[in-house]
């Protein structure tokens, strides 16, 4: 069978691997057609490249070498001939398929802003999207001379890009017309805490303000005019105002396309031989734009086509709707029910802890005894624990308020003096020796660590309690002395 995949991005390449890993019968010959000339790379980590936390080289995904896989790089599909079951490339080559998987991804949405030359296809110098490895490379180069960068759009990618630019030492303004940053994930109160935290990391947020125009001189960006007329001088604009599914190939072939290529829950289009996965697809519940969803679709489709089910971790790619912002110092995690525009549900309890001065805000949404949503800013381990509880659907505490705080360290406060230690407190764990045991040995004349060791075996295991035994002996000695003194004192 000839299986053709259009798109060699994170989802297309992963799908090819998933199929071949399961295709023990050797049923499929797989051809992947990708328009990028470079090796596949981890698009999720582009903002890390901007931040300088990852080398460009380190985000490339080494290609699977497989006798039944051929990967065509730098080759664009021009048309799909559903009648003859052929994909035609721009070079005129024809690839017959028995099954075709579209993983064409999405492109950056460039807003219809004056000065951006919409429709011309070329952005002015200094204006970039952050969608490809070339974008990342150009942005990194631009930061070297940039005096101020502007990020337009504070969705997940915009916040990550702003953080990355700030980490490069570039002052950053982030412009967001909605009344909350990441409004799909954050409500106003959560956003306010994030806004408050941003300046500490070199980001200047402008929320509730849109951009009106890019000011361009001699083909090069010089500033952004905001609604209201204020101008932010800038020589570097990163546009992060969402994405548009790449559907033109599918639409031209007569497949139904709305926000994306319309598919059923099993990623099939109305043409039973053609499937769509990843950012180009519009499954029944809609696309999330997160790679986890694309990978889940890739795995499920590979299993469907090969008729195999491999054991895999539920939510192994991370649950499809957990959002974790990768931004140095800005710790933002959301999952499930979150954001300001969600409908109220009488079955749900919402509890929150807001600590804006410390840059912390945690909200959990509980239904029955399950966690169905959470919003975490600056929550550290609590966020990690909430994700674990959310993805695994583990039962919530009887009082869900316990979800809002990490339990305190299990280490009891060290007693200020050996005298405060309980008699049955373990002194030497390795030999089950208590304070009372040491005191008994002391009263029988064991006054050095070696003598106590001989009597009780304390300190003879890992040796970690030597200091404690010394302290205890000193305390026992001074206690005896005090008693002696008291006894000897004249009445």
């Amino acid at each position: 069978m000839r299986l053709v995949v259009i798109g060699n991005g994170m989802v297309g390449s992963r799908f090819a691997e998933d199929v071949l890993a399961r295709d023990d019968a050797g049923k499929y010959d797989v051809t992947v057609i990708g328009d990028e000339a470079c090796e596949t790379y981890n698009r999720v980590l582009l903002s890390e490249v901007v931040a300088g936390r990852q080398d460009l080289a380190a985000i490339t995904l080494p290609v699977l070498a497989h006798p039944r896989l051929s990967v065509l790089r730098g080759v664009s599909a021009a048309a799909i001939d559903r009648e003859d079951r052929v994909v035609v490339t721009t070079e005129g080559n024809r690839h017959r398929y028995d099954q075709l998987v579209l993983a064409t991804g999405a492109s950056a949405r460039i807003p219809p802003l004056e000065g951006l030359g919409l429709g011309s296809g070329a952005l002015p110098l200094g204006v970039h999207a952050l969608r490809s490895i070339d974008d990342a490379r150009e942005i990194v180069a631009a930061t070297l001379n940039s005096r101020r960068a502007v990020v337009l759009g504070a969705g997940v990618l915009g916040v990550e890009a702003a953080s990355g630019l700030a980490q490069r030492g570039c002052p950053v303004t982030i412009i967001h017309p909605a009344d909350a940053l990441m409004e799909r994930q954050l409500d106003v109160s959560a956003s306010t805490v994030l806004v408050g935290a941003m300046p500490g990391f070199g980001i200047h947020p402008r929320v509730g303000v849109g951009a009106e125009a890019a000011i361009v001189a001699n083909g090069r960006l010089t500033g952004i005019r905001l609604t209201g007329g204020e101008v932010v001088e800038s020589d570097l604009l990163v546009v992060a105002t969402g994405t548009v599914a790449n559907t033109s190939l599918a639409a031209a072939a007569g497949l139904a396309c709305e926000r994306g290529i319309v598919t059923d829950a099993g990623s099939a289009t109305a043409d039973g031989r053609i499937f769509a996965i990843g950012d180009c697809a519009q499954p029944p519940g809609g696309g999330t734009g997160l790679v986890a969803q694309g990978w889940d679709q890739a795995r499920a489709l590979a299993e469907r086509l090969t008729g195999t089910v491999a054991r895999g971790r539920a939510g192994g790619a991370g649950a499809s709707d957990v959002v974790r912002v990768k931004a140095h110092g800005l710790d933002v995690v959301t999952m499930g029910v979150c954001g300001g525009s969600r409908p109220t549900d009488p079955e749900q309890r919402t509890l929150s802890l807001s600590d804006p001065a410390a840059g912390r805000h945690i909200e959990v949404v509980v239904e029955g005894d399950r966690l169905v949503g959470a919003t975490c800013i600056g929550a550290g381990q609590v966020a990690a624990d909430l994700v674990a509880a959310y993805t695994r659907r583990t039962p919530v505490p009887r009082d869900p308020a316990h979800l809002l705080l990490a339990t305190l360290s299990s280490a009891p406060p060290a007693p200020s003096s050996p005298g405060d230690l309980a008699d049955d407190a373990a002194v030497c764990r390795c030999n089950s020796v208590t304070k009372a045991d040491v005191a008994r040995a002391h009263s029988r004349g064991a006054h050095s660590v070696a003598e106590v060791a001989r009597e009780t075996r304390a300190t003879t295991g890992c040796g970690g309690c030597k200091d404690e035994v010394c302290g205890l002996l000193a305390w026992l000695g001074s206690r005896d002395e005090a008693r002696l003194t008291a006894t000897a004192a004249p009445v």
């Binding site: 699977l64 659907r393 040796g463």
Partner: protein, 718 residues
Amino acid sequence: MEAVATHCPYCALQCAQTLTPTPAGVGVAGRDFPTNRGGLCQKGWTSASVLRAPDRLVTPLVRGADGELGPATWVEALDLVARRFSEIRARHGADAVAVFGGGGLTNEKAYQLGKFARIALGTANIDYNGRFCMSSAAAAANRSLGVDRGLPFPLADIGGAAAVLLLGSNLAETMPPAVAHLSGARAAGGLVVVDPRVSATATLTENGQGLHLQPVPGTDLVVLLGLLHVVLAEGLADRAYVDERTSGADDARRLAAAWWPERVEQVAGVPAALLRETARLLAAASPSRGGAGAYVLTGRGVEQSVQGTATVNAAINLALALGLPGRLGSGYGAVTGQGNGQGGREHGQKSDQLPGYRMIDDPAAREHVAAVWGVDPATIPGRGRPAVELLDSLGRAGGPRALLVHGANLRVSAPHSTHVADRLDALDLLVVCDVVPSETAQRADVVLPVLQWAEEEGTMTSLEGRVLRRRKAVEAPSGARSELWVWRELATRLGAPGTWDTDAAAVFDELARASAGGRADYSGLSHARLDAEPDLHWPCPATEGEPHPGTPRLFLDGFHTADGRARFVAVDDRGPADDVRADAPIHLVTGRVLQHYQSGAQTRRVEDLVTASPAAFVELHPVLADRHGVEPGDLVTLTNARGTVTAVARITDAIRPDTVFMPFHWPGEQNVNRVTNDATDPVSGMPEFKVCAVTVARADLPAHPEAAGPLLITEVPA
């Protein structure tokens, strides 16, 4: 008798001891040695108590017509066993008699047991409880490094390192004297412990001495993939080392590329920042970056998993990326568990191996070993079934009808133990050799009383591959016999070929010849040489002139693979076999307590240990306890499709709220293995002891601590 220098009967650290027999009993003292530096834990100090266990087996027992075990003479018992073995073999074929060994047996016994199975019984079906212990680490090391020696360097080397990543090992409870070797890393702030619990070992990282990663159970592999991801992404790898000394890095990189720290955090619950900090800490200590050295060590916590082999390979991959293995002062190692867990897996009691760590389906290996045994190579059976599969097949059509057990207490220690108990009960004949009436012995058809550690000569190979002499300090009770004698008697009755020495030194010499040229080559060793040189690590081949000095450090000149390069093995996460779900929403993890060893057959007979640790318990987080209305001391039940276990609640925030912990040393209602999972790793056959899903409930019964019974000794007629 005089004071005797020997080693502790329990774990793989094999602490050096001096035993001094006195009229009142045997005195025990720690003895200075590079591993334990004179230290002993409470188990070691009290080890002599088992010599005088009130229910010590001193006569053979045979189940009579009344269904009860009753005393028999050795001749009666051995005649019976030999006759029944012969009958079963004649009727059902040689593979119908199976053998189950143990990682506590001396090298000599492990060797002789493997030989007994292959040429006296002619059965392929021999495996041992090391399958539950070291098999994943062994499989991973073999496929990556070309040889499996738990620590391929002396334990004391670790003391010089600035960072130690310890995954799934609670050293501070399981082998306390080993903790001293972590002091260098702790002083440098470089001890990193990965454990879902704030274990005693995890607390060693407190106060700036290191880091504790507390992942969701069953996600260790993901944590390791994330650490490798950060090392590669941040350019922290030792590129020259990877280029010159390894192969396969690209495939491992491809899979790790998909595990960026934020994604790892989502699955494992370990904050991304902590993962990055860990990777940087390890890199900074690595030789390529001018550090003092770094070690990656794994234990059962990460290995006893259906992806245990993959997890160990991920740990090795991380070590290889950092350029650690085969470098002085750095490396990867597995912390072996059982006393002779190392030697026990080298001399032929594994279903797929012959002595010298040779593979049983290698024709050259068969030829060499057959020559030593004096048999035709064609008569040596092939690969047998690995432990879990073997136990599951007992008494079934095509499965074994008889089982001979040495040094294992399967009714307590096997995963899904009630199922294993059913299989044992389905046998036509169960023969158990033991020193005390273990739970498994109590249900046997024939029980043969054998010797304890201080009553016999032999050798043990410790966790660092050092071959140690075990020496006799006291006479055994008159009715007990050495297993070497038992096998000779049975072999003779079965008309077996070969020689069946009963002197351990002579058996060792034969073992040495059988191991010559194998991966674990002992041919340059003998009891006499080991008496003179207590510092010899294998391989130690026989030489013409100067004796071989042994090999304290492997890999310095190359790995034991065909091309001399260590292999990155591409591994990815599949998750546990029995993950939490609506009807079993809590993870169960299991482990040990300081005072007890394995199934507790020995340590539950030591009064001091029982006083300090009388019964099983369930550790649960206050939030989880509150949810179920559980107060400290209440009885709690853990239930899943395999069964139910009941124990006393111990409420502590040293555990994740989504996880409960139970130690595994107790039988009956308190036996946590009633619910552990017997799903196995496809490569190693290791069952998934360390994670399964359960429901938690307060037992309706009022708590009866005395019902938990501190001292479970069954009276056996003498």
